[in-house]
Structures are given as C-alpha cells and as structure tokens.
C-alpha cells in the first residue's frame, strides 16, 4: 500500500511533480502511465526516499519508507537498471545488498534462479546487456520478498520472452496480495498487465481509475462496416452527432452510433451489410485523448486570459 498526499517536487523553478495525491492498493497491478518527463521516476524515487519531496508526503505500508525496520522487506524497487556497480559480479551485488538486512546466500541464489541469471551470476555487471541488467535489477528488488514492489519501466530492453516474464511475474505477485506499482510509457503494455491506472502528465494526475473504466469513458468508440452500397448507407445515417469517414470505397467508420442502431437502419432500408464491427478504443487512443484534454485545458486558459486582456 502506497499513499501519497499532496506530493510535490520542484527543481529550481521547474515543477516535476505538482501536488499529486493517490493510493496504490494491494492485491492488484497499478500502472503508472505517462510520457517521458511526466514525473513518474521522480515520484517513484520520492516513495523510497531517494528524492526529498518539496511539499507533501508519501507513506508505504503505513510509514515513511525510511522509518521501517526492514525497508527491503517492505518495498522492492527497480528504479534504474543501471543502479549497480559495474566492477562487481551480479552475485556479489545481491549478496552485499542482502547483507544489510541479514539476507543470506540462500535467498540470493533463489532470486538468481527466479530471474534466470544463473549462467551470468559470477560475471562482472559491466559486461551485461540492458536486458540482463534489467533482470538483475528485478532480482535485487525481489531480494527482501517485499510486500510492495515498485518497478520503473521494467520491460525496457527486455526481449519478448522477458516482457512476457515480467508481465506474468507482476500478475502472480499481485495475486499473492502484494502491491505492484509499475511505470511505463508503453500503453499497450499496461493494457495487458495493469488492473488500475494512474496517468500522469506534466507532473499532474490526469486519470486515476480501473483500466476498463478508462477504456469505457473514451469517446472514440467506433463502428466499422462494409457494404456494397456504402454511399447510400452513409447518406441514410447522417446526423448531428455522427461522424462518418470513408476508408475504402465500400468501407465506413462511424462514431456516434452503436452497431445495433446501424444494423437495424440498414435492414429497414434493405441495404446489405458484409461486415459490422464495433471497435473499442485502444488504451493508446484513450491515453492520447486524456493527454490531449490536458493540453486543450491549458490552451483554453490562455485563450480566456487573452480575451479578458482584450476587453
């Protein structure tokens, strides 16, 4: 469980994270979504106390991270795959990390096995590929068998098999009742992994809702159809809130009407349909729409100010 309250981080006069409050609940995967530079990594660093908030606070499992008697047991964090000394072997890195908490060789070997690093554990980290570094970072995060897992862009640099593995691991750990907080700028990845989404844009929370809800609220739900008399049908369906685009000579994409309404209208007019498919908005589209709203909001304010100034 992670609870942030009015969390703010300023670097000079640039505000990276602007007064955000959110709760990450146990037993599910919460996705932390936003474009690069939105403030995701800064927020995650503040959770484990690496960066000090300018204002506000964040607690993990009821306490500030540093106040726990066994921090690695509470939170496992992969914040940066490169947060490892390049001159040391993977095994010794994990051993040194674990030693602080009295975690010994048995658990170190366990996480090495869990992340599939057996063959390279004795090698120096400097020679690791991005993917292996990422696996080692995840191994380090799992070392304390933590109740809360924070992973910043965990699938970066992983091959498809590795991506699948992280996805399954996250789902499995959430199934055990743990809190999983996962950041990404890849919306497609989130659609497959997360139950809940917190969307961040320009340091502010744009959306905080279940994945299904974010998809459902999207206005971009469309219907695709094919008909030999597509032109005739397009004329028939025209209306105030309806947008019709012709993609091919016999294909239409329509928003503003549901598939049953279109189907019945076509049947009454005796127009044959070869295809009629409702298209759900992808998370990408929903996300673009959300961030676009954010941009429009800013543009709107500027316009208002200009109008007022003109008066």
């Amino acid at each position: 469980m992670i609870q942030a309250e009015g969390l703010t981080k300023r670097y000079g006069d640039k505000t990276a994270v602007n007064d955000i409050s959110f709760t990450v609940k146990p037993g599910m995967v919460t996705g932390f979504l936003g474009p690069n530079g939105a403030g995701k990594s800064t927020t995650m660093r503040m959770i484990v106390g690496l960066d000090r908030p300018s204002e506000g606070s964040v607690i993990v499992n009821g306490k500030p991270y540093a106040a726990h008697t066994a921090p690695l047991r509470e939170v496992g964090a992969l914040l940066d795959a490169k947060a490892i000394h390049t001159g040391r072997s993977a095994y010794n890195h994990l051993l040194a990390m674990g030693a602080t908490h009295g975690i010994g060789k048995a658990r170190v070997n366990e996480v090495i096995g869990l992340t599939g690093l057996e063959s390279v554990a004795g090698k120096r980290v400097g020679g690791f590929s991005l993917g292996m570094g990422q696996r080692l970072g995840i191994a380090a995060a799992l070392l304390g068998d933590p109740a809360t897992l924070i992973l910043d862009e965990p699938v970066n640099g992983l091959d498809p098999e590795g991506v699948m593995w992280v996805r399954q691991l996250a789902r499995h750990l959430a199934g055990e009742g743990r809190t999983i907080f996962l950041s990404s700028h890849l919306m497609s990845e989130m659609a497959l992994t997360a139950d809940h989404l917190i969307v961040l844009g320009r340091g502010k929370i744009i959306a905080d809702a279940p994945v299904a809800e974010i998809l459902a609220t999207s206005t971009r739900t469309a219907v695709k159809l094919r008909s030999p008399r597509a032109d005739q049908l397009a004329q028939l369906l025209q209306g105030a809130d309806v947008t019709i685009t012709t993609t091919e000579h016999d294909a239409l994409t329509i928003t503003g009407l549901t598939a049953p309404v279109i189907g019945e209208a076509a049947a009454q007019a005796g127009i044959p349909l070869h295809e009629l498919t409702p298209v759900g908005a992808s998370l990408e589209e929903a996300y673009m729409e959300l961030t676009q709203d954010d941009v429009e909001y800013h543009a709107g304010t500027t316009a208002t100010i200009t109008e007022e100034a003109a008066r």
Binding site: P26, R52, N92, A96, M97, G144
Partner: protein
C-alpha cells in the same frame, strides 16, 4: 492468501552489523581494491629493502638515533601508500555515484548515515591492517640489513613499535579523509584531484610561497597540512620547530573528521 505468503517470508532486518558486512563485501568484491592494497604491500617491502641496503653512513651514528633510522627505512612505503589510499578512498564512494550504485545502497539503507559510517569503518580497518602488514613486514626486511651496518635500535622502550603502528594509523586516516572528499564531490576525477592535491600539492604550494615571500605565516602553516602532520605522527620533525607527535595525530584526526562530517551532512541533505 497474502497471510500465508507473508508467514513464510524469511526474517530480515536492517542492522548495523549487517550494513558493515555489506560494505565489507562491496570493498573486497571490486578488483581495484584488491590491486591497490596489494601494490601498497609490495611497494612498501621493496622500498624498505632498497632503502636499507643503499643507505650510506658517514661516521658514527649515535645510539639514540638508531630507532629513527629503522623507522624511516620501514615507513618509506607510506609516502607512496598515501597516494594509493587517497585514490582508493575517493573511489569507494565516487564509484557508486558514477555507476548509480549509490541509489541501490541508499534504498537498502534509507537513513543514509549508517551506510557512510559503515563504509568509513570498513575502509579504516582494512587500510589499518594493510598498513600494519606493510610497515612491520618492511621492518622485518630492513632491520636485519641495517643490523649488518651496526644499526641496532633498542626495542625495549616500545618507541619503534609505536611509531611503526602510528604510520599505519596515518595511512588509515588518509583513507577516511579521502572517503569524505569523495562523498562531498561525488565524482572520481574531481575527488581524486582534490584528495591528491591536498596530500601532494599543498605542502609544495606553501613551501614555494614561504620561499618566495619569506612570509612567516606560510611556514607556520606547514606542520598543519595533512601529509606533513602525517609524517609528524611517526617521525621527528625535520627542522625541529614542528609539532609534537600527539599534536600531529590530532591534526590528522581533524582533517579526517572535518572531511567525513562534511560528506555526511551533504549525503543526508542531497537528493540521490
């Protein structure tokens, strides 16, 4: 489901001995550390053999000076060792900043200061042991050679042994000083330049100033410079106007303490 998962989790707890063990694993598992210490020992022993066998004596050496001759021959490696240790002390922390390791370290030890304290302790003790091995090993080589020249110090008063131990202590304190410098500057290049500049360059700079301007303050400040005070810890001052050995020890302690406390304050305050 979560209850069973949590019940089977291994016991783990952040503890001071654990943090010290972690820093020991870190120190010994990087090649540069092992090499640096090996070089100190090898060079010290070699220097001692060279010094003892090439030293030439004109006339009779008074018996009370025999001790300082042996100490001088046995501690020659310290002059060289302080440079290596100066680099090593910086690298122990700057290497963590340059690789990003510091974020892993501070995530495991979020209160931060215990991590720096453990680093300082491990570095101090390891360097002390290496220093003791070097100087007493050098003594074992140099003493028989010098005995052949008729220089046989009286060991019964313990002064020779004390001075040899003090030279190793100086080496260990230089390591702590450099660790503080590395923590303050967070960069290998800057940290090494600052640490070696303090050890090597400062005495020369003040010597030049004193020589050119005949300024008394410049020569007065000389015994308080880190490396001069360090030499003053285990050998008599060359011009006889310097500090007592115990005063030199206090000066070196102050250098190490100021540097480490400065690093600690910044480590606590800054974002990692």
């Amino acid at each position: 489901m979560s209850a069973t998962a949590i019940a089977t989790r291994p016991a783990a707890r952040l503890s001071a001995p654990g943090i010290v063990r972690s820093e020991w694993i870190k120190l010994r598992s990087v090649r540069s550390t092992v090499w640096s210490y090996a070089i100190i020992v090898v060079v010290s022993l070699g220097m001692a053999a060279l010094m003892a066998s090439t030293i030439s004596f004109v006339g009779e050496i008074p018996a009370e000076a025999h001790g300082s001759y042996v100490v001088q021959a046995s501690t020659f490696g310290i002059f060289f060792g302080q440079l290596i240790v100066g680099v090593l002390g910086v690298l122990v922390i700057s290497g963590e900043y340059s690789t990003g390791m510091i974020r892993s370290t501070l995530t495991a030890v979020p209160k931060r200061l215990p991590a720096l304290a453990a680093k300082a302790l491990v570095l101090f003790l390891t360097t002390l042991v290496v220093g003791l091995v070097s100087v007493f090993g050098s003594f074992a080589i140099a003493a028989p050679i010098l005995a052949g020249e008729g220089i046989q110090p009286d060991l019964s008063d313990g002064i020779v042994v004390r001075d040899l131990a003090l030279s190793a202590l100086y080496l260990a304190l230089v390591a702590v000083f450099s660790l503080g410098v590395g923590t303050i500057l967070r960069s290998s290049a800057g940290g090494i330049a600052a640490a070696l500049g303090t050890i090597l360059l400062l005495p020369t700079v003040f010597q030049v100033i004193a020589g050119l301007t005949q300024a008394e303050w410049a020569s007065n400040i000389m015994p308080y410079l880190l490396s001069n005070a360090g030499m003053g810890m285990f050998s008599e001052s060359m011009d006889g106007t310097g500090l007592e050995q115990w005063q030199s020890l206090l000066v070196v302690l102050a250098w190490a303490a100021v540097s480490l406390v400065g690093g600690a304050l910044l480590l606590k305050r800054r974002d990692a």
